[in-house]
């Protein structure tokens, strides 16, 4: 039997499904795999913090303050030593992962909701809606984030809730910018016109036709903004206007350790390094996701 006798259409459908392609790209992307692994590990650490932490992160022992970590001559009782109140540093780091990830995630969700709605509306409806959203983005970008966040936290008092609300209300700009652009792009696609011609309602078009095509961009921005929020929280906590002690936040740990930085540098190095690794992991993951899921938006 000759090749020509076989169904030509059979021969034609050889390409992988979008899902297969995605999987193939994911597993071929080093940065994504490394970043994803780091983030996954830290997420697991956060989830299983009570099982992993050797001590109660809040239990202080004023007679066992600033014990050095095991690699600097400490004991395995406190593998990473103790802080200025004699609390187990490792346990605080482990619980700190919860704080950082929680802040990152919830902030990204809040700002993501605000920014996506604005961006998608601006991109889809254009005209006046777009003008208003663009103006709001401009206003938001003009506000110095750190300063405004500091001021608000100083006014309302620092707590996890305040922190998350403030960051959530401040960090929506990138969502709006990116989703506005990608919605505009998708909106020009003929399948949107086709759906309109079919008689599909605007919410249906937004949710069923446009959303699936911009969700990749959204996920990318979510990861990058998560990293941004985590860094900002750490910076604010470092400046003393972030989450309140005794909550084990990594930024706060750096801030507390800073006092003894010149004598016990590990107090600063350890939480700073963990923060760096987490944010690096999230960024690698975000960059990777962009390369993998929305390669057209690489910049």
């Amino acid at each position: 039997m000759s090749d020509a006798m076989t169904d030509p259409l059979l021969a034609e459908i050889v390409g992988p499904t979008p899902g297969q392609m995605l999987r193939r790209r994911i597993f071929g992307h080093q940065g994504l795999l490394i970043g994803g692994t780091v983030v996954a590990l830290l997420v697991l650490v956060a989830i299983f913090a009570p099982l992993l932490a050797p001590h109660d992160p809040y239990a202080q022992s004023l007679v066992a303050r600033m014990k050095p970590p095991v690699f600097l001559g400490g004991t395995w009782e406190h593998p990473l030593g103790t802080d200025h109140l004699g609390r187990d540093y490792l346990s605080r780091l482990i619980y700190g992962a919860r704080v950082s990830l929680l802040i990152g995630l919830v902030t990204a969700v809040i700002s993501g909701l605000i920014g996506s709605v604005m961006g998608v509306c601006a991109g889809y409806f254009g005209g006046r809606v777009d003008a208003v959203v663009t103006f709001l983005i401009n206003v938001r970008l003009a506000m110095p984030v750190v300063l405004v966040a500091l001021a608000v936290v100083a006014i309302l008092g620092g707590s996890l809730t305040v922190m998350i609300s403030v960051l959530g209300l401040l960090l929506w700009d990138r969502f709006a910018v990116v989703l506005r652009a990608s919605t505009r792009q998708v909106r020009e696609r003929e399948y949107v016109a086709a759906a309109q011609a079919i008689g599909a309602s605007t919410p249906r078009i937004l949710l069923a036709e446009i959303m699936p095509n911009i969700v990749n961009n959204l996920i990318v921005v979510v990861t990058l903004e998560m990293a941004h929020a985590i860094l900002l929280e750490a910076a604010l906590s470092f400046l003393g206007l972030g989450v309140q002690p005794p909550t084990p936040s990594w930024g706060l740990m750096v801030s507390e350790g800073k006092n003894m930085m010149l004598f016990e540098p590990w107090l600063v190095m350890i939480p700073g390094a963990v923060l760096f690794v987490l944010v690096l992991g999230i960024n690698l993951m975000g960059d990777g996701l962009r390369d993998v899921a929305a390669p057209e938006n690489r910049s």
């Binding site: 459908i13 309109q196 011609a197």
Partner: protein, 326 residues
């Protein structure tokens, strides 16, 4: 000609266009007072250069844009007054770019069944059955239902787009350059399919194209558009055998058929296509027209009936002195 299923009466569409990033918006009249009618089972070919307003016209017919003034009638009913959903059952589009007209994140079954779901026709099972049937009609095996557009070739995608357009059995299909993105060998497949479907389902097409050879092959009537106006409209044979408007003549001359030795024709057209924001005075075609006179620069011609068609040129208007020269 049978009773028109689709009629355009004095349709005007004006956009406000910004020049540059921040320039002052200017009015751009993309469609200028166009009247057209489409009989049942007719294929009206619409030809013209890019920017002449043919795609705007298509959008108006699909209800994607509202005309600035004028009326669109479907079976004698004004379009604006009709329910959008009702309209969607009667008129469906096939777009130019099969890569952009299918949502890449949806399976073929999802794409084709979307009209049924939007209109709430049948349950999941019957929708699936309908998809299977329509796939058969457009010559695709039902296996493709679970694949995605990215897995298909351009020709197959265009078949999917046709299947989506036909699943609700519309009367009218607006084909906006349906083959211009395809290779020749695939283009002929799609043209054949469109012909078959028309015969089988008694479809009416508005067939927009810049490829005159294709229009000649498929259309029963042809309308030639220039800068928002229909400058000539006639039965296909009549137009191709005896083009009247100088623009139609130039267009026909530009068709390069694979016949060796004929050389590249001289269209005798002036170079520049005018800026639609500042259209020329008088007859919009006069700057490019080899036969233009002083009169053409100042006075816009009016449509004149000619052998069952229309032409809009002073040369054919018995009331102007140029008539004699033609």
């Amino acid at each position: 000609m049978t009773a028109p299923v689709l009629e355009l009466r004095n349709v005007v569409k004006t956009y406000s266009v910004k020049q540059g990033l921040m320039g002052r918006p200017k009015p751009l009249t993309a469609v200028k007072d166009v009247s057209l009618s489409l009989g049942r089972s007719e294929v009206l070919g619409l030809v013209g250069e890019s920017g002449c307003g043919k795609s705007t016209l298509a959008k108006i017919l699909l209800g994607l844009e509202a005309p600035t003034s004028g009326e669109v009638l479907v079976d004698g009913e004004a379009l604006g007054a009709q329910d959008r959903l009702k309209l969607a059952r009667r008129i469906q589009p096939i777009f130019q770019d099969p890569y952009s007209s299918l949502n890449p994140r949806k399976s073929i079954a999802d794409i084709i069944s979307l009209p049924l779901r939007v209109h709430g026709i049948g349950d999941a099972a019957s929708q699936k059955q309908a998809v299977r049937e329509i796939l058969d009609v457009v010559g695709l095996p039902s296996r493709v239902m679970n694949t995605y557009p990215s897995q298909m070739s351009g020709g197959q995608r265009q078949r999917v787009a046709i299947a989506r357009a036909l699943i609700m059995k519309p009367e009218i299909v607006i084909c906006d350059e349906p083959t211009s993105a395809l290779d020749v060998s695939v283009q002929s497949q799609i043209l054949n399919l469109l012909g078959e479907l028309r015969r089988e389902f008694g479809l009416t097409y508005l067939f927009i194209s810049h490829n005159l050879a294709v229009v000649e092959h498929l259309a029963t009537r042809v309308a030639v558009m220039y800068l928002g106006r229909i400058v000539e409209e006639a039965e296909t044979g009549e137009l191709f055998d005896n083009p009247r408007h100088p623009y139609s003549r130039a267009l026909l001359k530009s068709v390069l058929t694979p016949e060796p030795g004929l050389g590249v024709p001289d269209t005798q057209l002036g170079m520049a296509y005018p800026n639609p924001i500042n259209p020329p005075s008088g007859c919009a075609f006069h700057p490019r027209c080899p036969l233009a006179t002083e009169l053409c620069k100042t006075r816009a011609p009016r449509p004149v009936a000619q052998d069952g068609g229309l032409v809009e040129c002073h040369l054919y208007d018995p009331e102007t002195e140029m008539f004699e020269q033609a």
